[in-house]
Symmetry: C2
């Protein structure tokens, strides 16, 4: 008997025989599980989490290496756990091979620091019989330059003791015109904040010094909400079912953030009390789930958010483990599928200050497409899917050791490639796939419809679902068991993904009444984007034709935007202005989008006149059908 084992977050599946280990299943599925001891249960490294399915009781090795407590939470060793049911398995980062390239950094323009958190050191005149005014009045007087100071209720209960125990020499912390902390002595230098970028797949947390603006800690993890659905829509559906579900999904992300904060506090030696603010970005669904807002209507037309403006809430109210009276600020959302992360991208990329028409794409499972300059900003969201992140691609994998990241195909169809960390090839990551398809197109392995047309070559073989092109022969691979190939299906997945992005761009161009020549610059944001070869991206028609010098890659600008708003309240005002100014185009109802999507399914596009440079390079047989309006 056989069972299906599915690994999250990749979503890779495989069938294994009853009694096989989860580790064997991971090997078969191409999931990069670590196993220093070679699957003997000695190293205790191949920790996995059971998300669904019946499992046998723990082995002695598991009890020894993991402990009862964790086992009760569903943590097991992949090499010890045998499969007797269909399973869904979560693979945590620390169980992955090699140092994972969890890209969380992005370009951040220099800004003038003006944080929402203000700390002041004062020596206050104590009360006397001649001046028996309230403690609050003494503080209010010395803070007279700040209007309408309010006194946090929790603090007020401690205030008289702190003032007297510190001999009235204190540091006052003010956030949003509220006095939230009083510390003995001069603690003005201990002033920190947290920036958080909640991606559908990845979570990134940064601890920032609010005086210098320095990043003191940066780390990421897979978004723990992944167990409630790999994509936004399935999480919305799960969370909409009941208040309990909503709370569960909210708690997952809150706990994840708290875990990274705790790690950051340990590494930096900062006190929790001194983390006074958190700025959070994410797409609208991630934003709403973080705040525990009802997401039901995000899944129903017209997909209106509950909160579109910037929002402030006290850390204690949502269970974020910074100073309990600290402020949590979330950036504005434009619409149900263009959220706070897009605003953060715009802030970090400065597209809102550009004179010329600029295309900004934040590439992810959903790709936000923004077209504009300082005069106007059009935006839309396209469901590009996770293919660029290696999911739904036969040998796709994340950007980890052994992933093929660059591919070159020579005239004789021989392949040159490079892998991350120069290890033996284990699979192909996003940039490798784009390279591979661009090269197959350039050399004529495929035609412009994406069909593998090369015949009678040792690298072309027949697979289960059609033709396949061999990138690495099995002898050269890490496992030595299987050829690493690009299948006809893989090509199809990439076509769909890049078509969604390009059609989004074209829709905005047409809605805005722009001509092809108006486009001056392309900015690619998103962690994955940093590794794409811009020429390959142009060749497959993922982005419009512009000189390479006009194409830039900024990395995780969502995180950068969050940090910018953490460091300066001026940029929160700017964020609100940008959100108001942005014109959202709902693609679901756009005939234009449908048309451009069909055109963009071709490589580079059936509008070949828009890709003269690409057309002059590629040897692929031309096979296009132009969309015709019926």
């Amino acid at each position: 008997m056989e069972f299906e084992v599915k690994f999250l977050p990749e979503g890779k599946k495989t069938l294994v025989k009853e009694g096989a280990t989860v580790f064997e299943a991971a090997l078969k599925a191409g999931v990069d599980l670590i196993a220093l001891c070679g699957g003997k249960g000695f190293c205790g490294k191949c920790l996995i989490e059971i998300i669904k399915g019946e499992i046998p009781p723990p082995t002695e090795q598991e009890l020894r290496k993991i402990g009862k407590e964790k086992i009760e939470k569903g943590i097991r060793l992949a090499c010890q756990l045998k499969v007797y049911d269909n399973l869904i398995i979560g693979v945590p980062n620390q169980s992955r091979i090699g140092k994972q390239k969890l890209v969380i950094m992005g370009v951040e323009p220099p800004i003038k620091i003006n944080p929402n958190v203000k700390k002041f050191y004062f020596e206050i005149t104590p009360p006397s019989l001649d001046d028996p005014r309230g403690d609050d009045l003494r503080i209010n007087e010395i803070l007279s330059n700040i209007n309408n100071i309010s006194f946090n209720y929790s603090l007020v209960k401690e205030m008289p003791s702190i003032l007297r125990e510190s001999n009235w020499k204190v540091t006052l912390t003010i956030v949003n015109n509220e006095l939230i902390n009083i510390q003995p002595g001069d603690k003005t230098k201990d002033c920190y904040g947290v920036a958080v970028d909640i991606g559908t797949t990845k979570l990134a947390v940064f601890i920032v010094d609010l005086l210098s603006g320095d990043i003191l800690f940066a780390d990421g993890m897979m978004n723990p909400q992944i167990k409630y659905g790999e994509d936004v829509i399935s999480r919305i559906q799960y969370a909409s079912q009941s208040n309990e579900n909503l709370r569960e999904v909210q708690n997952a992300i809150i706990n994840g953030i708290n875990e990274l904060i705790e790690k950051g506090l340990k590494e930096t030696g900062i006190n929790k009390e001194d983390l006074y603010e958190m700025v959070v970005v994410g797409n609208t669904a991630m934003h709403h789930l973080f705040l525990g807002l009802n997401v039901k209507w995000l899944g129903l037309a017209p997909y209106a958010p509950v909160i579109g403006m910037g929002y402030n809430v006290k850390a204690r109210e949502i269970g974020i483990n910074i100073n309990p009276s600290g402020n949590v600020y979330t950036l504005p959302n434009v619409a149900g599928f263009v959220g706070a992360d897009a605003i953060a991208d715009i802030l970090a990329s400065k597209i809102y200050e550009k004179d010329n028409l600029t295309l900004l794409m934040d590439v992810g499972t959903n790709t936000e497409v923004i077209l504009g300059n300082k005069y106007e900003l059009l935006c839309c969201s396209t469901a590009s899917g996770p293919a660029f992140e290696g999911a739904h691609i036969k040998f796709g994998m994340r950007a980890a050791s052994g992933a093929i990241e660059r591919v070159k195909i020579k005239e004789d169809f021989e392949v040159e490639y490079s892998t991350i960390d120069d290890e033996k090839a284990r699979g192909i990551c996003g940039s490798g796939i784009i390279d591979a398809i661009a090269e197959m197109l350039r050399t004529g392995v495929i035609d412009t419809a994406g069909r593998i047309v090369l015949e009678n070559h040792k690298r072309v073989r027949k697979g289960e679902f059609g033709k396949e092109f061999i990138i690495v022969f099995k002898e050269e691979t890490a496992t030595g068991e299987e050829d690493i190939v690009i299948t006809q299906e893989d090509i199809r997945e990439i076509q769909k993904a890049k078509a969604a992005m390009y059609a989004g761009y074209m829709t905005l161009m047409r809605v805005g009444g722009f001509k092809k020549e108006d486009l001056f610059e392309i900015i690619i944001a998103g962690a994955f984007g940093s590794y794409i070869d811009p020429l390959s991206a142009k060749i497959i028609g993922m982005i419009p034709e512009l000189p390479i010098s006009k194409i830039s890659f900024l990395g995780n600008t969502a995180g950068s935007g969050a940090r910018i708003c953490l460091k300066s309240i001026d940029y929160r005002k700017k964020a609100e202005e940008i959100a108001k100014k942005m014109k959202y185009i709902e693609l679901a109802v756009m005939r234009i989008f449908e048309e451009e999507y069909i055109n963009a399914m071709f490589l580079p596009n059936s509008r070949i006149e828009d890709f003269p440079e690409v057309m002059s390079i590629i040897k692929a047989p031309i096979n296009v059908k132009r969309y015709v309006k019926k």
Copy 2:
């Protein structure tokens, strides 16, 4: 064997034999316990609360009439409970004879209504594919006349459902620039608030229609904190011992207020949700204990309050049972012993608008003395004690049925008196005691030192602690058992109480550099004040000499001030201005006060030149010693 039984809030004590009932003790102590069945345990009316002491298990009557649950909370029947230990017993209002005159109303000047709570009805344009902005933006747009609206976090979680279920036709409620409620349909008329006056002894709660300003419900009870100490100082001491004690004392008053609110909601049919704000006044200690603030330093020089300014806190944060996101506002405190209630008195009496010098006294266990006009306001607090409320006076009692409230002594020392509800005399309330002493002075029963000098008259007799003057012979009293007398000790108590008040006034006059002739008007506030005969008050030297037409009694103006601030935020600003303007004089360190206190111990005063009118009326032998500076 004998045990002492003490009754609260009066503080009356008596010794009874082992095995006597609490009801018998109450009779002996002169506590006006009700007993329709004559102490047989049938009527179940003589409910009392055990505050301290060991008690025997309940009788069958008690189990039947009270129930196990209440018995576990220490509620028992006075006629059933036998005394086998020293006991402290609380007597609730409903167990008192006759309808209690719990005076909670006060004069309230007409004001322009401008509440802090605003309700608006709107029909909002729902989102569409052309306009998929967030729900918050739609609301923000229609509320564009209000700056910086924030959205309550609890509300935001419900917001999208309410908007859609009500078809986007909703009533919005805004408090302190925060949207705290959304209701389906037009509910603009359901807009209510609560005004609360926390006296050391009495608690008064008013439910007010915030549109019309009408009082819809007014009720009072004894301050439930009384079990932690009868006076402010002992409560401060108790609450300072630990955080648990503080919480306990806070909970007592919060629960009392909630109980009265619940009663009010039942009587008026108003929904809790529609009580959007509460305004609270009280002396500084009551204010701090209500907010759960550390009162330790209120009991230590220089007696500085924690909070001197007006303070806002969410109802949910302190457990007040109105709309959980509703606002609780407390008026400013001037100093440790001149609190929010004094500010409320000033607002209600309009002394801050007077052209001429005015004396305002809020008579209570502590008497706040305020002297001033629109130009300046001096204030102090004097520990006048509870004598005027009948405590520490042999036959003193509260203003209930059978209390002697007016006394007239004729030339032949015969006494005419009237009682509340014209019932047979049971004791003397505050106004009766003042009358009696004034009349004894006028007719020469006592000399100006307060000594009973009348000899050889059937109304003068020798008591346990010196001479006594008989007001009512026992045959005429309700019990028929004892003469109702004024003792030498009673006179001493009243001398001390009135001396404290007058010395407070004189200290302010001298600190302010005023002359006797500058005083234009006297205003007496406080529930008890309403019943004082102004001439008697002048005769005993409780207040300075002014024509009766210049003396007014406003009742419980603390409650009036709370209602004024509930009805209009303009008066909150005024309250802050007044609090800032007030000059507090700490009597504890004033030599002047000591001097004037000694002078004021005489009747009317050893400064006889300040009381020409009184001196021309009284027949009392003059026996005064003038304070001489050493």
